[in-house]
Amino acid sequence: MARRAKGASEINAGSMADIAFLLLIFFLVTTTMDVDTGLARKLPPMPEEDIIQDDSQIKAKNIYVVLINSNNQLLVENEFIDITQLRAGAKAFINNNGRNPESSDNPQKAIISLQNDRGTSYETYILVQNELAAAYRELRDAKAMQRFGMMYANLNKTQQKEIRKEYPQKISEAEPKNIGN
């Protein structure tokens, strides 16, 4: 009774650290730090059935045909190449600007056509997509460096749009076909 008269005694906060530790360990265990990363792409809308696709307007020389077979081998413009050569090949094609009459007229007209087999491994497909994206990224970086003295990623929105207009990323994926096993 004498103690209570002195006023309410303070709550012992010594175990607060223990409780906090317990919670901390729970969140430490459940936490996942990984951010989702990946290659962003836009699929073409489904073609309407009654409209026949007219590809004849695009000159064959403006199309860079990349085929991947079920053995994960690459056939680019009717030539069998290794994946390490793809980036340089694509860059040369896009940035041809009419120098080679067999290759593209200019980067705006250049289209990369990608076709794969049902048996192609996803890993190879991503590698090819990555190489093609890298080719475009390098070209854009070079242009941005030349014009603004900065890498493409560091430019502001309007500047990026300007560069994108010059090097539009045109990767077309053919309607799926079964080329053969």
Binding site: A20, L24, D36, G38, L39, A40, R41, L43, G119, Y122
Partner: protein, 155 residues
């Protein structure tokens, strides 16, 4: 000299632990804020392919996931080793995708629907056949924004 000797004879005072809860709470809040709880159990093998030209996925709330791969080892007894599609918590077929996309759309605000992305999380050993089928279904469902989930390549 005697001054120093006198000091060393004394007992060293214990370190005050009064600020320990504060430090722990600080860490606790950090982890509470950064933590993301996993809402689906992944039942397919997921060793994602590597790439260098990657972008971060913005707005996680607008992303729907499609997992593709062969079932994990403990499920191979029941489901075999053939690559399968997983939507939410269950195995599915390609025909279930339009329904899944519609369900995902109705769960979101109408204004946000055009910004929705579908993330394809496919195992690197899967064949393109199943991935192509999924892509065709997505095109039919008019979910055109996709993202091939990859890891950053370590050089």
């Amino acid at each position: 000299m005697s001054k120093f000797r006198k000091d060393s004879k004394k007992d060293t005072p214990g370190i005050s632990t009064a600020s320990l809860p504060d430090i722990v709470f600080m860490l606790l809040f950090f982890f509470m804020v950064t933590t993301v709880m996993r809402e689906t159990t992944i039942m397919v093998q997921q060793s994602l392919p590597q790439a260098t030209e990657i972008q971060k996925l913005q707005k996680k709330s607008l992303v729907s996931y499609i997992y593709i791969g062969s079932p994990v080892e403990r499920m191979q007894g029941t489901y075999g080793t053939k690559a399968r599609i997983q939507l939410n918590d269950a195995f599915a077929t390609v025909d279930d995708i339009p329904q899944y996309i519609t369900a995902e759309r109705t769960a979101r605000d109408e204004k946000e629907v055009p910004f929705m992305t579908t993330s394809i999380k496919a195992d690197q050993n899967t064949k393109m056949g199943i991935v192509t089928d999924v892509k065709q279904e997505l095109r039919k469902a008019n979910a055109l924004k996709i993202n091939y989930s990859t890891r950053k390549k370590v050089q």
